[in-house]
């Protein structure tokens, strides 16, 4: 009898292990956050890597196949994935992950977006109506997103709801300590003027108090032109930036050019989990980002 119970228990355990909640994360940072909260209760697929521009992904067949079997889509929202995710979600034939259903989660809904355009006009470039969607680089945003995500995971997987809450609590405690440490370390960055390739770092600059004095792209989504770069270089006289920042997926040409001419360091930041070998998880992402920024300051 005991043996039978054991066998059944074992079977039940293995079932629950294989029945992990299937999560489709559009970008690596949300995949990492879901893993922090869900641990082994979730099985996470990441649709993009840190070397891919999340604006410019195609609705590949493999993404449709993954979305078909997902129980939860975790996206950034605010139009970041507008060129591919709506199509993937619609054509997946998966009713659970349609916008408006519990299986569709947009992180941008839980934070205050910066750079909200007053005028919606593409003469200003590929502007995002809702605001700048690169929200992950202000670590404080992850509290609210994480909290909402834990609640959502619990809603979709009630037996593990307490586990997700505990996962979030553990993450939040760790995060609180880490933020305090980062803010201390990053004190020298306050007020430092920087150039950026694209508006990818506005939340980071805002958090650390860096001043973005120019963008290599003349308008969002428009490639840097030599004329625009020369203009930025000329401005170095009056408004000298101390470094020029880009993500792992942006081409290094423009920032290396301006860095060389202006004699300032060009710094590649991981931007998301996996952007550099050191940025293996969320803590590593900020550790490495700060390490690189501080190195650029010296």
């Amino acid at each position: 009898m005991i043996r039978l119970t054991m066998v059944l228990l074992l079977a039940a355990l293995s079932f629950s292990a294989s029945a992990a909640l299937q999560v489709f994360a559009t970008v690596p940072e949300w995949a990492a956050l879901v893993r922090e909260i869900g641990g082994d209760k979730v099985s996470v697929f990441t649709a993009t890597t840190a070397l891919q521009d999340p604006h410019r992904i195609e609705a590949r067949p493999s993404l449709l196949a993954k979305a078909r079997r997902a129980q939860l889509v975790v996206a950034t929202g605010a139009d970041l994935e507008v060129g591919w995710l709506p199509l993937v979600v619609r054509d997946s034939g998966n009713a659970e992950i349609q916008p408006g259903r519990p299986g569709y989660f947009e992180a941008a809904r839980y934070v205050n977006l910066l750079d909200v355009p007053v005028v919606l006009d593409r003469t200003h470039g590929d502007v995002h109506a809702a605001g700048n969607p690169h929200i992950q680089l202000d670590p404080r945003n992850l509290f609210r997103i994480g909290e909402a995500l834990a609640a959502r995971l619990g809603e979709l997987d009630p037996p593990n709801a307490a586990g997700y809450q505990a996962g979030y609590k553990a993450f939040a405690e760790k995060w609180q300590v880490a933020i305090a440490r980062w803010e201390k370390e990053a004190a020298p960055l306050r007020g430092v003027p920087v150039l950026v390739h694209h508006g990818s770092f506005i939340y980071l600059s805002h958090w650390l108090g860096m001043k973005e004095t120019g963008t290599l792209e003349p308008k969002p989504g428009i490639e840097p032109s030599s004329g625009h770069l020369s203009g930025l270089l000329a401005r170095q006289q009056s408004m000298p930036a101390k470094m020029v920042l880009r993500t792992a997926y942006q081409s290094d040409g423009p920032s290396l050019w301006i860095a060389g001419k202006a004699g300032i360091p060009a710094i590649m930041l991981p931007f998301t989990v996996g952007g550099t070998p050191e940025a293996g998880d969320l803590v590593g992402l900020f550790d490495d980002t700060l390490r690189r920024l501080l190195k650029g300051l010296n």
Partner: protein, 467 residues
């Protein structure tokens, strides 16, 4: 500003209440304090953001000074995504060209049934020379309710507005099932679903013109059912029934369906840099008095009416490569399709204009053909702005068995060919200009060197394109 004291009061009330309920449980109190610390952290962050936005407001007039108001209760802030701002999403495609080519009044493809297609533009289109406007496409789409989504595409040209597509699509069936109904581009083949502004060349492959006419797509008024299998790789099955009014079918006044189609698509990634899709499709249409001009054995004009069934098989393959899977800076796309089409039925040869051809007395005889063709193309984007591509088209007029009418009508045995090269420049995702050269041998005895300069501009909502 009134909402702030309220929010603080609510926060305090909530935390006090919670504390009372949890008695003197030390752990609970600690978590409460953590909670409060966290909400203060958030409130401070929100205030900092407001402050910096207020600071930025003076410098950047294009940015609002008041971001989406933070909701202190921790509930989700609702913000207007662009999809909601444009409800329905509206976009407009501007497309036009300058073409330089031979003056060929009745452009056909030698050895192939001249598909009338929809020549609502009075024979313009593929053979228009000089400056011209292509279709201007107006696209509306939106979720209808939690269960359905709708889209309509209107093609506007001078005095005519045509309903290119108008369909609804299911959102809530689940289990991988998708249902679409209305007027839509059939899911057969690869290029068939794409609108001209999505093409990589200024015109469609010859094979699509031979199959479906000038419009280069089989459009259907009907129902489409798709099922995506729950497999690790992409496997999709589709089936359609519809009116079948467009070439190679004809419109008919009857109950039931005039055409049906079935297809399967498979696809996957190979590593992080490569992805592919392959498909096999079948389309069955029927014709009642499908009409075309022929030439009789004496070189006189004659008319042919086809009654019977047409079955078309299509095989398609697409492969895309991008370094690290990031197509923005560099990518390559290879695409190829092959078809076999069979007409089976009878052909009636007539002399409608009384020119005294061999069919002065109409002759009806067996008609049976088997024709094929293919194209292959490669497009390389070598900088974010520039792309270059080449394409080769070849068709085979194949078997054309006219039965007794072989004594009356002449059909040509020919292999139409065309080689095309293009280069295009995109200022952004929304604007593109293209230069294209083609050596066109679609008509026997004519080698046409064609130059086309084309622009494609899209305004409005940011549409998502299929793979």
């Amino acid at each position: 500003m009134l909402h702030k004291p309220f929010a603080v009061a609510a926060l305090l009330a909530a935390s006090c209440g919670a504390q009372a309920a949890s008695d003197a449980d030390l752990a609970a109190i600690r978590s409460q304090i953590d909670e409060m610390k966290k909400s203060y952290e958030q409130r401070i962050a929100a205030l900092e953001q407001k402050l910096s936005q207020a600071e930025a407001a003076g410098k950047a007039p294009a940015t609002s000074s008041a971001a989406a108001a933070p909701s202190d209760s921790g509930q989700r802030t609702t913000l207007a995504s662009s999809a909601a701002a444009f409800n329905p999403e509206v976009s407009l495609i501007l497309q036009g060209q300058y073409a330089q080519m031979k003056n060929v009044p009745d452009r056909t493809i030698t050895g192939f049934w001249p598909a009338g297609g929809h020549d609502h533009d009075g024979g313009k289109g593929v053979s228009t020379r000089g400056f011209s406007l292509n279709h201007t496409e107006l696209i509306f789409s939106a979720g209808i309710d939690p269960y359905w989504r709708g889209q309509a595409i209107f093609a506007v040209q001078d005095e005519s507005v045509e309903v290119e597509e108008a369909w609804f699509q299911s959102l809530a069936i689940g289990h991988g099932v998708g249902l679409k109904g209305g007027r839509y581009r059939s899911g057969i083949g690869y290029l068939n679903e794409q609108h001209p502004h999505q093409w990589d060349f200024a015109n469609a492959p010859l094979m699509y013109n031979a199959l479906f006419g000038q419009e280069a797509s089989f459009r259907e008024d009907g129902l489409q059912l798709k099922w995506l299998a729950p497999t690790p790789i992409f496997v999709e099955f589709g089936a359609e029934v519809g009116r079948g009014a467009n070439f190679p079918g004809t419109d008919s006044n009857k109950n039931g369906a005039g055409a049906w189609a079935a297809y399967v698509h498979v696809g996957d990634d190979l590593g992080v840099s490569n992805s592919w899709r392959a498909g096999l499709s079948y389309l069955n249409t029927s014709s009642g008095n499908r009409e075309a001009e022929f030439v009789d054995i004496n070189g006189l004009q004659a008319q042919g009416l086809f009654n019977g069934d047409t079955s078309t098989w299509l095989a398609d393959f697409v492969w895309k490569w991008a370094p690290d899977g990031n197509p923005k800076y560099q990518n390559f796309k290879f695409q190829s399709e092959y078809f076999v089409r069979k007409d089976k039925g009878d052909l009636t040869c007539t002399d409608e204009n009384g020119v005294g051809n061999a069919c002065a007395t109409p002759v009806t005889a067996d008609y049976d053909t088997r024709q094929s063709g293919w194209y292959a193309q490669g497009v390389y984007q070598f900088t974010p702005n520039w792309r270059a591509g080449v394409r080769y088209d070849q068709l085979d007029s194949g078997r054309q068995n006219l039965g007794a009418n072989a004594a009356n009508l002449v059909v040509e045995d020919y292999k139409p060919k065309r080689a095309t090269a293009m280069v295009d420049y995109s200022w952004s995702e929304f604007s593109r200009v293209r230069l294209q050269y083609a050596q066109d041998k679609a008509m026997a005895g004519i080698t046409d060197n064609q130059w086309i300069v084309q622009y494609i501009m899209s305004l409005g909502a940011h549409g998502a394109h299929k793979f």
